[in-house]
Protein backbone atom coordinates (compact mmCIF):
# COMPACT_ATOMS: atom_id res chain seq x y z
CA UNK A 1 0.00 0.00 0.00
CA UNK A 2 1.19 3.52 -0.78
CA UNK A 3 1.99 5.70 2.19
CA UNK A 4 1.22 9.39 2.50
CA UNK A 5 2.39 11.86 5.15
CA UNK A 6 -0.07 14.68 5.82
CA UNK A 7 1.78 17.51 7.52
CA UNK A 8 -0.16 19.25 10.27
CA UNK A 9 0.76 22.75 11.34
CA UNK A 10 -0.88 24.48 14.24
CA UNK A 11 -3.88 26.03 12.52
CA UNK A 12 -4.17 23.45 9.73
CA UNK A 13 -7.79 22.47 9.42
CA UNK A 14 -8.12 20.25 6.37
CA UNK A 15 -5.77 17.48 7.49
CA UNK A 16 -8.54 15.04 8.39
CA UNK A 17 -10.44 15.76 5.16
CA UNK A 18 -7.24 15.07 3.25
CA UNK A 19 -6.58 11.83 5.11
CA UNK A 20 -10.11 10.69 4.34
CA UNK A 21 -9.71 11.38 0.63
CA UNK A 22 -6.36 9.57 0.55
CA UNK A 23 -7.73 6.60 2.44
CA UNK A 24 -10.63 6.36 0.03
CA UNK A 25 -8.13 6.19 -2.83
CA UNK A 26 -6.43 3.27 -1.11
CA UNK A 27 -3.47 5.18 0.28
CA UNK A 28 -2.34 4.73 3.84
CA UNK A 29 -2.20 8.24 5.31
CA UNK A 30 -0.58 9.41 8.51
CA UNK A 31 -0.64 12.80 10.17
CA UNK A 32 2.80 14.25 10.87
CA UNK A 33 2.97 17.09 13.40
CA UNK A 34 5.04 20.09 12.32
CA UNK A 35 7.41 19.65 15.25
CA UNK A 36 8.74 16.38 13.85
CA UNK A 37 12.09 16.62 12.16
CA UNK A 38 11.96 13.57 9.93
CA UNK A 39 9.62 11.75 7.60
CA UNK A 40 9.32 7.95 7.56
CA UNK A 41 10.04 7.70 3.83
CA UNK A 42 6.50 8.32 2.59
CA UNK A 43 5.62 7.95 -1.08
CA UNK A 44 3.88 11.30 -1.08
CA UNK A 45 3.74 14.31 1.24
CA UNK A 46 0.61 16.45 1.49
CA UNK A 47 0.46 19.96 2.88
CA UNK A 48 -3.22 20.44 3.73
CA UNK A 49 -5.42 23.51 3.80
CA UNK A 50 -6.15 25.68 6.78
CA UNK A 51 -4.65 28.68 8.49
CA UNK A 52 -1.21 27.61 9.64
CA UNK A 53 -0.18 30.00 12.40
CA UNK A 54 -3.41 31.84 11.81
CA UNK A 55 -2.05 32.97 8.44
CA UNK A 56 -0.66 35.84 10.47
CA UNK A 57 1.78 38.08 8.59
CA UNK A 58 1.24 36.21 5.27
CA UNK A 59 -0.33 32.86 4.57
CA UNK A 60 2.29 30.19 4.90
CA UNK A 61 5.04 32.63 5.94
CA UNK A 62 5.56 31.21 9.41
CA UNK A 63 4.74 27.59 8.65
CA UNK A 64 7.55 27.52 6.16
CA UNK A 65 9.99 27.57 9.08
CA UNK A 66 8.39 24.68 10.97
CA UNK A 67 10.91 21.98 11.88
CA UNK A 68 9.33 19.40 9.57
CA UNK A 69 9.82 21.62 6.53
CA UNK A 70 13.51 20.70 6.30
CA UNK A 71 12.51 17.08 5.82
CA UNK A 72 9.83 18.05 3.33
CA UNK A 73 12.38 20.04 1.36
CA UNK A 74 14.83 17.14 1.32
CA UNK A 75 12.08 14.77 0.20
CA UNK A 76 11.06 17.21 -2.54
CA UNK A 77 14.59 17.87 -3.74
CA UNK A 78 15.16 14.14 -4.05
CA UNK A 79 12.26 13.94 -6.49
CA UNK A 80 9.68 12.89 -3.92
CA UNK A 81 6.05 13.77 -4.51
CA UNK A 82 4.64 16.79 -2.66
CA UNK A 83 1.14 18.19 -3.02
CA UNK A 84 0.03 21.44 -1.43
CA UNK A 85 -3.66 22.30 -1.27
CA UNK A 86 -4.76 25.86 -0.53
CA UNK A 87 -2.72 26.80 2.54
CA UNK A 88 -0.33 24.02 1.55
CA UNK A 89 0.17 25.71 -1.82
CA UNK A 90 0.85 28.99 -0.02
CA UNK A 91 3.45 27.26 2.16
CA UNK A 92 5.14 25.71 -0.90
CA UNK A 93 5.45 29.14 -2.56
CA UNK A 94 6.72 30.77 0.63
CA UNK A 95 9.25 27.97 0.97
CA UNK A 96 10.40 28.53 -2.61
CA UNK A 97 9.50 24.99 -3.67
CA UNK A 98 7.13 26.51 -6.20
CA UNK A 99 7.46 29.92 -7.85
CA UNK A 100 5.23 32.95 -7.31
CA UNK A 101 3.09 33.97 -4.38
CA UNK A 102 -0.54 33.98 -3.31
CA UNK A 103 -1.97 37.34 -2.42
CA UNK A 104 -5.21 38.92 -1.28
CA UNK A 105 -8.08 38.22 -3.66
CA UNK A 106 -8.72 41.07 -6.08
CA UNK A 107 -12.22 41.50 -4.63
CA UNK A 108 -10.60 41.82 -1.17
CA UNK A 109 -13.07 39.34 0.31
CA UNK A 110 -12.67 35.79 1.47
CA UNK A 111 -14.29 33.74 -1.26
CA UNK A 112 -15.96 30.39 -0.76
CA UNK A 113 -17.73 28.92 -3.75
CA UNK A 114 -17.61 26.21 -6.35
CA UNK A 115 -15.54 27.11 -9.41
CA UNK A 116 -14.97 25.42 -12.73
CA UNK A 117 -11.39 24.56 -13.54
CA UNK A 118 -9.60 23.04 -16.49
CA UNK A 119 -6.95 20.36 -16.19
CA UNK A 120 -4.06 21.88 -18.13
CA UNK A 121 -1.62 19.11 -17.47
CA UNK A 122 -2.65 15.54 -17.04
CA UNK A 123 0.82 14.14 -16.46
CA UNK A 124 1.50 15.28 -12.91
CA UNK A 125 1.37 13.00 -9.90
CA UNK A 126 -2.16 14.07 -9.04
CA UNK A 127 -3.77 14.57 -12.46
CA UNK A 128 -2.91 11.48 -14.49
CA UNK A 129 -6.43 10.10 -14.09
CA UNK A 130 -7.85 13.12 -15.93
CA UNK A 131 -8.00 13.81 -19.63
CA UNK A 132 -5.96 16.77 -20.73
CA UNK A 133 -8.34 19.73 -20.96
CA UNK A 134 -10.96 18.13 -18.73
CA UNK A 135 -13.38 20.51 -16.99
CA UNK A 136 -14.56 19.97 -13.46
CA UNK A 137 -16.07 21.86 -10.54
CA UNK A 138 -14.20 22.20 -7.26
CA UNK A 139 -14.72 24.25 -4.11
CA UNK A 140 -12.41 27.12 -3.29
CA UNK A 141 -12.31 28.86 0.10
CA UNK A 142 -9.62 31.43 0.66
CA UNK A 143 -8.86 35.07 1.27
CA UNK A 144 -5.42 35.02 -0.29
CA UNK A 145 -5.77 32.93 -3.40
CA UNK A 146 -4.65 35.33 -6.11
CA UNK A 147 -1.60 33.82 -7.75
CA UNK A 148 1.04 36.35 -8.80
CA UNK A 149 4.53 36.09 -10.27
CA UNK A 150 6.60 38.33 -12.49
CA UNK A 151 5.92 38.22 -16.22
CA UNK A 152 9.03 36.25 -16.96
CA UNK A 153 8.13 33.54 -14.48
CA UNK A 154 4.58 33.43 -15.80
CA UNK A 155 5.82 33.09 -19.37
CA UNK A 156 8.13 30.32 -18.28
CA UNK A 157 5.33 28.50 -16.46
CA UNK A 158 3.17 28.68 -19.56
CA UNK A 159 5.92 27.83 -22.04
CA UNK A 160 7.11 24.83 -20.10
CA UNK A 161 3.63 23.63 -19.27
CA UNK A 162 3.80 24.01 -15.52
CA UNK A 163 0.27 25.32 -15.18
CA UNK A 164 -1.73 22.36 -13.89
CA UNK A 165 -5.14 23.92 -13.21
CA UNK A 166 -6.74 27.03 -14.63
CA UNK A 167 -9.98 28.73 -13.62
CA UNK A 168 -12.68 28.82 -16.27
CA UNK A 169 -14.05 32.02 -14.69
CA UNK A 170 -11.28 33.72 -12.74
CA UNK A 171 -12.70 34.23 -9.23
CA UNK A 172 -9.92 36.28 -7.66
CA UNK A 173 -7.75 37.98 -10.27
CA UNK A 174 -5.09 35.27 -10.37
CA UNK A 175 -2.45 35.94 -13.01
CA UNK A 176 -3.52 34.20 -16.22
CA UNK A 177 -6.30 32.46 -14.32
CA UNK A 178 -3.83 30.11 -12.70
CA UNK A 179 -5.34 27.83 -10.05
CA UNK A 180 -2.51 25.33 -9.69
CA UNK A 181 1.07 24.81 -10.83
CA UNK A 182 3.84 22.25 -10.63
CA UNK A 183 7.60 22.06 -10.75
CA UNK A 184 9.28 21.05 -14.03
CA UNK A 185 9.21 17.36 -13.08
CA UNK A 186 5.54 17.41 -12.13
CA UNK A 187 6.41 15.99 -8.73
CA UNK A 188 5.57 19.09 -6.69
CA UNK A 189 2.06 20.40 -7.23
CA UNK A 190 0.25 23.26 -5.56
CA UNK A 191 -3.39 24.24 -6.08
CA UNK A 192 -5.90 26.56 -4.47
CA UNK A 193 -9.07 24.48 -5.03
CA UNK A 194 -9.92 21.75 -2.53
CA UNK A 195 -10.33 18.39 -4.29
CA UNK A 196 -10.64 16.62 -0.93
CA UNK A 197 -13.94 18.43 -0.38
CA UNK A 198 -15.39 17.00 -3.59
CA UNK A 199 -14.19 13.45 -3.18
CA UNK A 200 -17.23 11.71 -1.76
CA UNK A 201 -19.85 10.80 -4.33
CA UNK A 202 -22.47 10.31 -1.63
CA UNK A 203 -22.21 13.96 -0.59
CA UNK A 204 -20.97 15.86 -3.62
CA UNK A 205 -19.74 15.44 -7.19
CA UNK A 206 -16.99 13.04 -6.13
CA UNK A 207 -14.87 14.39 -9.00
CA UNK A 208 -12.11 15.57 -6.67
CA UNK A 209 -11.37 11.95 -5.78
CA UNK A 210 -9.49 11.53 -9.02
CA UNK A 211 -6.69 13.77 -7.81
CA UNK A 212 -6.06 11.15 -5.15
CA UNK A 213 -6.55 8.11 -7.34
CA UNK A 214 -4.08 9.76 -9.73
CA UNK A 215 -1.43 9.50 -7.04
CA UNK A 216 -1.90 5.75 -7.00
CA UNK A 217 -1.89 5.54 -10.78
CA UNK A 218 1.27 7.56 -11.15
CA UNK A 219 2.92 5.47 -8.46
CA UNK A 220 2.10 2.24 -10.27
CA UNK A 221 3.24 3.69 -13.56
CA UNK A 222 6.56 4.33 -11.82
CA UNK A 223 6.31 8.06 -12.35
CA UNK A 224 7.36 8.53 -8.79
CA UNK A 225 10.24 6.12 -8.75
CA UNK A 226 12.12 7.52 -11.68
CA UNK A 227 15.60 8.73 -10.71
CA UNK A 228 15.26 12.08 -9.04
CA UNK A 229 16.25 15.03 -11.12
CA UNK A 230 16.78 17.91 -8.79
CA UNK A 231 17.77 20.61 -11.22
CA UNK A 232 15.81 23.81 -10.88
CA UNK A 233 14.46 22.82 -7.52
CA UNK A 234 16.16 25.15 -5.13
CA UNK A 235 14.51 28.26 -3.87
CA UNK A 236 16.87 30.67 -5.58
CA UNK A 237 16.09 29.54 -9.06
CA UNK A 238 12.51 30.62 -8.55
CA UNK A 239 12.80 33.57 -6.30
CA UNK A 240 15.29 35.56 -8.26
Amino acid sequence: MMRAAVITFPGSNCEHDTVRALTQAGIHAELVWHRETSLQAPDVVLLPGGFSYGDYLRSGAIARFSPIMEAVRTHALAGGAVIGICNGFQVLCEAGLLPGALTKNAGLLFTSRTVRVTIERSDTICTVDFEQGARLSLPIANGEGRFVADEQTLDQLEAEGHVVLRYAENPNGSARGIAGICNPQGTIVGMMPHPERAANARLNSGEGGRFFSSIVTSFHSQMLTSPPNTSGLNRDSYVE
Binding site: Y53, G54, Y56, L57, A61, I62, F65
Partner: protein, 84 residues
Protein backbone atom coordinates in the same frame (compact mmCIF):
# COMPACT_ATOMS: atom_id res chain seq x y z
CA UNK B 1 3.74 70.96 -4.11
CA UNK B 2 3.44 67.22 -4.05
CA UNK B 3 4.26 65.22 -0.94
CA UNK B 4 4.70 61.56 -0.26
CA UNK B 5 2.88 60.49 2.88
CA UNK B 6 3.72 57.37 4.89
CA UNK B 7 1.08 56.29 7.37
CA UNK B 8 1.59 53.60 9.96
CA UNK B 9 -1.49 52.20 11.67
CA UNK B 10 -0.95 49.92 14.64
CA UNK B 11 -3.14 48.24 17.25
CA UNK B 12 -3.70 50.40 20.32
CA UNK B 13 -1.53 49.50 23.28
CA UNK B 14 -3.12 47.03 25.65
CA UNK B 15 -5.23 45.40 22.97
CA UNK B 16 -4.44 41.82 22.17
CA UNK B 17 -2.31 41.66 19.03
CA UNK B 18 -2.29 38.01 18.01
CA UNK B 19 -0.46 38.78 14.81
CA UNK B 20 2.30 40.60 16.65
CA UNK B 21 2.58 37.69 19.06
CA UNK B 22 2.86 35.16 16.26
CA UNK B 23 5.57 37.17 14.55
CA UNK B 24 7.45 37.68 17.81
CA UNK B 25 7.34 33.96 18.43
CA UNK B 26 8.49 33.18 14.89
CA UNK B 27 11.39 35.63 15.12
CA UNK B 28 12.48 34.00 18.37
CA UNK B 29 12.50 30.52 16.82
CA UNK B 30 14.47 31.91 13.89
CA UNK B 31 17.12 32.86 16.44
CA UNK B 32 16.65 36.60 16.23
CA UNK B 33 17.59 37.23 19.82
CA UNK B 34 16.71 40.30 21.84
CA UNK B 35 13.60 41.15 19.92
CA UNK B 36 10.46 42.12 21.76
CA UNK B 37 7.30 44.20 21.79
CA UNK B 38 6.41 43.18 18.24
CA UNK B 39 3.25 44.64 16.74
CA UNK B 40 1.81 44.25 13.30
CA UNK B 41 -0.45 46.76 11.61
CA UNK B 42 -1.02 48.47 8.31
CA UNK B 43 1.13 50.78 6.25
CA UNK B 44 -0.43 53.16 3.75
CA UNK B 45 1.63 55.21 1.31
CA UNK B 46 0.10 57.96 -0.78
CA UNK B 47 0.89 61.13 -2.70
CA UNK B 48 -0.91 64.31 -1.86
CA UNK B 49 -0.79 67.81 -3.26
CA UNK B 50 -0.58 70.54 -0.61
CA UNK B 51 0.85 73.99 -0.08
CA UNK B 52 3.19 72.94 2.70
CA UNK B 53 4.48 69.92 4.54
CA UNK B 54 2.30 70.84 7.50
CA UNK B 55 -0.76 71.03 5.34
CA UNK B 56 0.02 67.67 3.77
CA UNK B 57 0.31 66.17 7.23
CA UNK B 58 -2.98 67.73 8.23
CA UNK B 59 -4.68 66.21 5.20
CA UNK B 60 -3.16 62.86 5.98
CA UNK B 61 -4.37 62.95 9.55
CA UNK B 62 -7.85 63.80 8.37
CA UNK B 63 -7.78 60.76 6.07
CA UNK B 64 -6.71 58.60 9.00
CA UNK B 65 -9.48 59.93 11.22
CA UNK B 66 -12.08 59.56 8.56
CA UNK B 67 -11.11 56.39 6.77
CA UNK B 68 -7.74 54.79 7.16
CA UNK B 69 -7.61 54.01 10.86
CA UNK B 70 -10.22 52.62 13.19
CA UNK B 71 -9.99 54.78 16.34
CA UNK B 72 -11.60 52.12 18.50
CA UNK B 73 -8.67 49.77 18.11
CA UNK B 74 -5.91 51.55 16.20
CA UNK B 75 -3.46 54.42 16.57
CA UNK B 76 -1.69 56.00 13.65
CA UNK B 77 1.41 58.01 12.84
CA UNK B 78 2.01 60.14 9.78
CA UNK B 79 5.28 61.04 8.03
CA UNK B 80 5.56 63.44 5.13
CA UNK B 81 8.34 64.09 2.66
CA UNK B 82 8.38 66.41 -0.33
CA UNK B 83 8.60 64.78 -3.74
CA UNK B 84 11.23 66.47 -5.82
Amino acid sequence: MKYRVHVRILPRPGLLDPQGQAVEHALATLAFANVGNVHVGKAVDLDVVATSEAEAAKHARAMCDKLLANPVIEDYAVQVEPIS
